[in-house]
């Protein structure tokens, strides 16, 4: 395991761009630098993996649902307000 910590220089600078990295939104040179960095830096590599998992967790979030009857009643009220 690498000894370095995220407090150190380049890791910290790159850490700021890692969401863009997992979203594929980085310009080429920076993307390549991060890929190469992660080949050598276990901590950053694990960090990127965890960030990707957190992004994917959004799909685990249940969608609160309104009862159909309630939905209908609210939209009818809105319709009346629009017509008045």
């Amino acid at each position: 395991m690498s000894e370095h910590q995220h407090g150190s220089g380049r890791c910290l600078e790159l850490a700021e761009r890692l969401s863009e990295f997992v979203d594929g939104e980085l310009p080429e040179p920076l993307r390549i630098e991060i890929e190469q960095h992660n080949d050598e830096c276990t901590k950053c590599k694990k960090f990127v993996e965890s960030l990707r998992r957190v992004r994917d967790l959004a799909h685990l979030l249940p969608r609160p649902e309104l009862a159909q009857e309630r939905l209908r009643r609210i939209s009818e009220a809105a319709r009346r307000r629009l017509e008045s």
Partner: protein, 216 residues
């Protein structure tokens, strides 16, 4: 195993996302053009989506119902005057987030504050790995999945609203960075910054979670 519970399969494919967006735009165009059945189509297509977005932002059913109704009225009053034919969905999310933000002034919201990068990055504590995903949890998969989703909901409630709204748009509603910037009328770098910090904060809140029997 229930396929739909797998985040990979739940994440929309690019084709499905495009198809969904086209249907969204078609319904919004019908509203704009004053088609007779458009009101019902709008409610059917967007009602639950707007309500659940409102619930995540306001945390109260009553507020979320108001967000839905305010949105419905604003859409009807303003959409017909909207000249720009493209990006109706982006425009809709702008209406929804404005409705949420005006509720916020009236209800008990998590206070606005800035999230600093330093407090969110892993240091020397053993949090590098972040949360374990449910499909990696083995036999306790179902119990663990529920725990994870409850903890995620709680962590989301703790996020400052300015960050939460960006996370909701990007990672839940799957708007692009550009669309989110337009919907919230903030810059692209600002969207990226808030999204990154929101993910880091959620990551930090969930990092210690492991299926039962395992320890971080």
């Amino acid at each position: 195993m229930d396929e739909s519970r797998n985040p990979q399969s739940l994440a929309m494919s690019a084709e499905r996302r495009i198809a969904r967006r086209q249907e969204d735009e078609a319904v919004l165009r019908a509203v704009r053009d004053g088609e007779p059945r458009a009101f019902d189509r709008f409610v059917e297509r967007f009602g639950q989506r707007i309500y659940s977005f409102g619930m995540r932002m306001c945390n109260q059913q009553e507020d979320a119902e108001d967000v839905f109704q305010d949105t419905l009225i604003a859409v009807y009053r303003k959409l017909s005057t909207l000249r720009d034919a493209g990006a109706l969905t982006t425009w809709l999310y702008r209406i929804v987030s404005n409705a949420c933000m005006s509720r916020r002034r009236r209800s008990k919201f998590a206070p606005a504050r800035e999230l600093s990068l330093e407090e969110l990055l892993p240091g020397s504590e053993p949090l590098e790995e972040g949360p374990v995903m449910p499909e990696e949890a083995g036999p306790v998969h179902e119990v663990y999945r529920r725990e994870l989703s409850e903890k995620l909901e709680a962590a989301l409630r703790d996020l400052p609203p300015d960050y939460r709204v960006v996370w909701m748009m990007r990672d839940v509603e799957e708007l692009s960075t550009q669309e989110t910037a337009e919907a919230l009328q903030i810059s692209v770098p600002n969207v990226k910054m808030r999204l990154h910090r929101a993910r880091l904060a959620l990551r930090k809140s969930l990092a210690h979670l492991r299926p039962q029997g395992e320890h971080a």
